[in-house]
Symmetry: C2
Amino acid sequence: MSRGLLLVISGPSGAGKGTVCDAYKKNCENHIWNSVSMTTRAPRAGEVEGESYYFVSREEFKAMIENDEFLEYAEVYGNYYGTPRAEVEKKLSEGTDVILEIDIQGALNVQENTTEGIFIFILPPSMNELRNRIIGRGSETPESLLTRFKSAYNEINYVNKYNYAITNHTVEQAYQDLICIVRAEKCRVTRVSNEILTLKEEKL
Amino acid sequence: MSRGLLLVISGPSGAGKGTVCDAYKKNCENHIWNSVSMTTRAPRAGEVEGESYYFVSREEFKAMIENDEFLEYAEVYGNYYGTPRAEVEKKLSEGTDVILEIDIQGALNVQENTTEGIFIFILPPSMNELRNRIIGRGSETPESLLTRFKSAYNEINYVNKYNYAITNHTVEQAYQDLICIVRAEKCRVTRVSNEILTLKEEKL
């Protein structure tokens, strides 16, 4: 059985990364596993252990850091967030694709900590559209809007660290691009070596 | 405008390369240009200049070899066959994808003569099926059948020189794989750099 693909998906705020990933996951259902992050922050109302996050103490988290048990982790406003390595590895070795929807710094950390991973960046169709989408969320003050927009603008510089860039003109087109990237990656010669071996060993 | 993709497609006899390429070309119509080979052999009944082949004299062909005007060429049973570089280059620079359906030796020559090219190998689902397909053509003597089969068997060793391998279980699945490979390759960060530049330069 072929090893699953590790899909690492990032993009600036407002590019629509979440919507594209949701459409993709809905389409794939059992063939994809959505990695669940671990955090030391307290659960919020409605958050479910093992779905929203794995909630652990600072001590537990730090012990896991010591044991190199994270694919990536970061401390944000005093709370730790990270992706535990073991469960991702288990799914990949079972042949299940894993999707990691993660910020850019996290993605770069994953790059440093594994030799695998298909790094996909979601781009907005235009900066104007990006601004409209951030405004459309309606939850921003003019100041925070400007901050988010500037940050998104800078984040686009990191696209060169990725393998693929999907421009999110429409969700339908963007998640179809994602489906094709996965299907194409499964045709890479390096990934079908088992099939080729079977072919060569076939008794006639 | 983005440069077209150079798709180099090979596979052993009986794997169904021709059928897969035809299905793909039919689906893409204007978006793909099928490279036409040049040869020094005489036209056969029904062959059309510029469609089947470009027919030229040995002198013309040799002069073009001298001028490095071929992406690849070979001499087979005293006749030259080759892919003229100029027309392929023209189509690629116009943004049209080019499909080169070519034998393995030709594909390896293309690899040596360009820095681009997406190399795709069409595999049979099994060696048994490959044998059935060769027999199914009905045009082989038992001896030539054995020769073709042994040759196909050896050719599979070259798959490691390619970027992608498509197993031709059904034509429908195989050409959909090909469509996805092309769509994914168009999302490669190295190929969308113009779009990213436009995004970064956008005045707001």
